[in-house]
């Protein structure tokens, strides 16, 4: 393994005349928790979709887990996990069925799935809920379960697209405990969020404004650089000049 797990150089995505992502370059190291910040419409989701192999870049270069985002999307898909705010699990399947389905899709054997799911259910304290449909679970539990399912196959990287949107503070803390656990096991975490307290938990954060990365460093270094006492101020400093934000 190289020391970078994600590497992009001038990665660009255009939709007609609109440049959604404009020449972004960065590196993410193994085991790192990388915060990918930006206002709504800054191009975070588009950038993430390119890295996940869902969208072909217009220009530039990028590798994920050592695979090229143009040609080796199938290999990328085997090496990553993905979880988003809105959807991740099948709401009309039970907890166990979801675990079984996604585990199987990622090529885990039935025995592995069984081990993993017992472990996972114990950790999330879902023992009484295994036969319940996912839609009956509270949002916080759903998100924790979705994250655990997204890393069930021990991917090199897990992409989290606003995983804690709409989740209460206590559950958010528990969610971040899970993220730290995963990072300790060597899974690189690539996470987008709008919560600046969460940005503080990241090892490094990048802030996107109007399609380009305007800042990239550890939270403490960024605070120093912008002589701000919180990430909130740093973000505000950078994002208020944005032309594309919708607020």
């Amino acid at each position: 393994m190289t020391t970078t797990v994600i590497k992009t150089e001038n990665l660009t995505k255009r939709f007609g005349d609109f440049i959604a992502v404009d020449k972004i370059s960065f590196e993410v190291h193994p085991g790192e928790i990388f915060g990918f910040l930006g206002a709504n419409g800054a191009g975070k989701t588009t950038a993430m979709r390119m890295l996940c192999g869902l969208s072909i870049p217009s220009n530039g270069f990028a590798t994920v887990a050592g695979y090229d985002v143009y040609k080796e999307t199938e290999q990328i898909k085997k090496s990553i996990g993905y979880m988003s705010q809105k959807f991740s699990l099948y709401e009309d399947l039970t907890v166990t069925e979801n675990i079984h389905f996604f585990g199987g899709i990622y090529g885990l054997s039935d025995k592995q799935i069984k081990e993993k799911s017992t472990e996972l259910i114990q950790k999330l304290e879902l023992e009484d809920q295994t036969k319940k449909l996912v839609k009956t679970l509270p949002l916080g539990w759903k998100q924790k379960l979705a994250f655990s399912v997204a890393i069930i196959h021990q991917p090199q990287i897990v992409f989290l697209d606003e995983p804690t949107g709409g989740v209460d503070p206590v559950t958010r803390r528990q969610f971040w405990d899970l993220i730290y656990d995963a990072a300790d096991k060597g899974i690189t975490v690539f996470v987008t969020t709008h919560y600046m307290d969460e940005a503080e938990y990241c090892h490094r954060v990048s802030i996107m404004v109007d399609g380009s990365i305007k800042a990239l460093d550890s939270p403490s270094a960024l605070k120093k650089q912008f002589s701000a006492d919180s990430m909130d101020k740093v973000f505000y400093e950078l994002a208020r000049g944005a032309k594309r934000s919708d607020n």
Partner: protein, 373 residues
């Protein structure tokens, strides 16, 4: 293979867990098959007839009795004049007026010739046409009976008579159920297959789970097969219920031809149909869009499939559309095998065409599917 197995398992679980959709798939088509053939019956009965009898003779009364006892007509009443009768037609109380002139009996006996007047309410064209024809034929019969009474059998008849005898092949009793049930079953399969498949895929788009699937190592063809196979199986099951439970037990329809051949055609037809559903799903983002598109086409498919009206009597442009409609071939094959007992040789061309439909629709859908993701 394991991926497809997992996808099928997931799909069937979701389908059987959907308490709203499940009856829609399995129960509704069968109920429709029970109800629709009864309504889709061209046999015209209960035609209201108003009689204006100026003659009041034995002959005229005999004629009226003959007409009423035929079973097709219902006497709406006797009217003193044509004007009174037309009033009834205007108020929709009568469909037909039969006017018998004064001196009907006398003229008929003396001159062996008399005229009757029939007026028909043509707002419902089919009813008017058939009602008029029934009435004419009853009067003709009555006329022939009279002649037979009057004329002693002679060695040679001065007026040669051509008597026409018809025999109805394949459906000797002209039973409409026999004709309609296979056709309606074909339509129901089309609706269940086409709609359900399109809606199911679009639903995954709408709630976003397709995105989750797209970041996993599931291949496109896995996903597509995982969607098509369940609905293919459901199509076969619904067809089997319709053919054996409703068709055989309720309507007493036993296919004259090979059931195996029927299923062989159904299998290919379903592939074509599900390809159509898949195609719709690639063009829609929401279930509402998919439903609207599917509704538009299914409407045309039904109307221009030869289910209700004969394709041969359509204008050329309509015939062209009917020939581009996969449902046309399925209905034809259904009727040919079920009623006529046609063999593979007779429907070779149908097999070929439906095969082309299957390849074309699925090919288009798969190409379009790749582009959109």
């Amino acid at each position: 293979m394991r991926t497809i197995k997992l996808l099928l398992q997931k799909e069937f679980r979701q389908i059987f867990r959907n308490k709203t959709l499940l009856p829609l798939i399995f129960i509704v088509p069968l109920v429709q098959l029970l109800i629709l053939p009864l309504a889709a019956d061209y046999e015209i009965k209960n035609i209201s007839i108003s009689v204006v009898d100026h003659d009041h003779s034995t002959y005229s009364r005999n004629l009226i009795t003959t007409i009423i006892s035929s079973g097709y007509f219902r006497l709406a009443g006797y009217d003193p004049s044509y004007n009174a009768a037309i009033h009834k037609v205007e108020h929709d109380k009568a469909d037909l007026i039969l006017e018998i002139p004064a001196g009907f009996e006398k003229t008929l006996v003396r001159e062996s010739l008399e005229q009757l007047f029939i007026a028909v309410n043509a707002i419902n064209g089919v009813k008017a046409n058939i009602g008029g024809a029934y009435l004419s034929s009853i009067i003709n019969n009555y006329n022939a009976d009279l002649r037979a009474q009057w004329i002693q059998p002679v060695r040679f008849n001065s007026a040669p008579i051509i008597e026409i005898t018809t025999s109805n092949w394949f459906n000797p009793f002209m039973n409409y159920n026999l004709f309609m049930v296979p056709g309606i079953l074909a339509i129901l399969i089309t609706m269940v297959g086409g709609y359900m498949c399109a809606l199911n895929i679009v639903k995954e788009k709408e709630i976003g789970t397709i995105e989750q699937i797209n970041v996993t190592p599931i291949k496109k063809y896995h996903f597509i097969l995982g969607k098509l196979i369940p609905f293919w199986v459901i199509g076969i099951v619904v067809f089997t219920f319709g053919l054996f439970i409703i068709g055989r037990l309720i309507y007493g329809i036993i296919p004259a031809g090979s059931i195996l051949l029927l299923y062989a055609f159904l299998s290919i037809y379903l592939v074509a149909l599900l390809g159509f559903g898949l195609l719709i799903s690639t063009y829609s983002e929401t279930q509402q869009q998919a439903m609207s598109i599917a509704f538009f086409f299914v409407m045309i498919f039904i109307m221009m499939s030869g289910l209700f009206t004969s394709i041969d009597s359509m204008p050329l442009w309509a015939k062209t559309i009917a020939n581009l409609n996969p449902v046309t071939y399925f209905i034809e094959v259904m009727r040919m095998i079920v009623l006529k007992g046609s063999g593979f040789d007779d429907i070779k061309l149908h097999f070929l065409i439906i095969g082309i439909f299957a390849i074309f629709l699925n090919g288009w859908a798969v190409m379009n599917y790749k582009k959109t993701s």
